[in-house]
Symmetry: C2
Subunit: 297 residues, 2 copies
């Protein structure tokens, strides 16, 4: 059975009553499971993680978007996180028995339905992007809600679904498909943030490192350590063990040790199977040989 993950972000991080109403359609439905939702007051943003059968997840998220469209007015919205829509972004992530193309298809279906029913202009982004310049969410969202009217006058920014006209309260929405991220931090036994920073630079894509690593330095003063904090944006191409061993290797240069690591949030089983396979030199091992995989079919 195919399983998709969906992580809609809504522009409401303060009003708990509204937040509950937005999340409500994702509860108690067969084939849909609300994994987590976190509201951030400073960001004034709600991040929801839901998982389940693709069509059922899509339908439930479609309902939530409808409620967010009614409850959120971006004309009165202030927060530290950039946003251009009441439902700001909505990525689909293929988890099981489906591939990226299936997730892209789902994003397009949802996009069309959202444009038709809620009259919100929809931009497809990341793997679902219709043009190269639309892959990067930051580019798509540039100008934010306040600049949206102007942006939509540019024919380069005509939406993928819906008219080139911002919704008067809900703005626009970016719907897309992407791989699961792994948020992964590696601990260094130094308080020197410069060292963490230098190591982060060597491993991240933006400064010459691995293609699917985003990385930066973080201080953890209460533990008297620093961390290299990472997003592994495609763990099938840049594995956790590779990030770990690369940081270890670079740390040696500074006489610093890697003392451990941590996963923030959830981590796909496949990524851990890959780690175990690497260190044990496992032959012919794959997810199929994991007992639990057979429980999920």
């Amino acid at each position: 059975m195919a399983i998709v993950q969906c992580v809609p972000n809504f522009s409401e991080g303060r009003d708990l009553e509204k937040i509950e109403k937005i999340v409500n359609p994702l509860r108690g439905k067969e084939g849909v499971k609300l994994l987590n939702y976190e509201a951030d007051k400073n960001y004034n943003r709600l991040v929801v993680t839901v998982i389940g059968e693709p069509q059922k997840v899509k339908e439930a998220v479609f309902e939530s978007i409808g409620i967010a469209t009614k409850l959120i007015d971006l004309n009165n919205h202030k927060g530290q996180h950039s946003r251009f829509g009441a439902t700001d972004v909505c990525p689909f992530i293929p988890i099981k028995d489906m591939d990226m193309n299936d997730a892209i298809k789902l994003a397009k279906e949802l996009g069309e339905e959202v444009a038709n029913k809620y009259k919100i202009p929809v931009f497809l982004y990341e793997q679902a992007a219709s043009k190269p310049g639309r892959e990067n969410l930051a580019t798509v969202r540039k100008g934010e809600y306040e600049g949206l009217e102007e942006k939509l006058k540019d024919t380069n920014w005509s939406p993928d679904f819906g008219e080139a006209k911002k919704h008067s309260t809900a703005g626009a929405i970016a719907i897309g498909a992407r791989r699961p991220l792994i948020a992964y931090n590696i601990n260094l036994d130094t308080e020197n943030i410069e060292i963490a920073s230098k190591i982060a630079k060597t491993i991240r894509h933006s400064s010459g490192g691995y293609r699917y690593i985003k990385a930066g330095p973080v201080e953890v003063p209460e533990r008297k350590i620093t961390q290299v904090t990472m997003n592994l944006t495609d763990y099938t191409k840049t594995s956790m063990y590779r990030a770990f061993e690369a940081v270890k290797m670079e740390a040696k240069r500074y006489g610093v040790n890697v003392t451990g690591s941590e996963v923030v949030g959830l981590c796909p089983m496949e990524a851990l199977v890959d780690v175990a396979s690497y260190y044990l030199g496992l032959e012919d091992f794959s997810l199929d040989k994991v007992l639990e995989t057979s429980l999920m079919e």
Copy 2:
């Protein structure tokens, strides 16, 4: 939702028609999944792996035992594998949201039902054993079908359920509860079986090694290597990485390298999580942080 695995072994490895009839009750039932069945002609034995909701698995296996009782006559049974029953052994293995006590309870329920309905004497073994001397299956089965009548005269060997009287065609049955086994082989870049044998001895319980490792040497002439072949009988106490590193450490003594390893059959996710956690030094990591775990609840 609780998930149990059950691995009944039947004393029929040759007659495909009978095999299909025995396996049939394990197919197409809600909450029960037939993972695998393998018949061995030399052993004249059928090993079935089924998984699912505890009560439903128990009921389905109960049906299979009934069919095996009708179809198999141990008076005419010959094979290389020792056996004392038509359904020879039937272990329950707790997989998810249940513990060993739940598996023991299930074993006892099945034992009582089998004794009542099919009039077969039942011995509880391994974790479900009622006395210390009955933990070891080999001890319980000693004397095999041919010696069963004599064995049952000994009050030390009165069955846990049913009368002290062998079933005239189906003998007896051992029902138990145990941890999942991991069948794990480690490759050595030597053809010298003596080296594999010496290493196996250092790591296995029976000759002074780890408590939950059974190990021996195997030749793999087609690859010009040998293997240390193992059963990890409790991977929560003796992890795969520990077996792997121990073999690597011992191999050094002989100038031999560990070139890889393999899992035969299925491997529980928890065992792989433990391996990944060890090598990456993961903090606060557990099955709960595996995305797929949330799919199974």
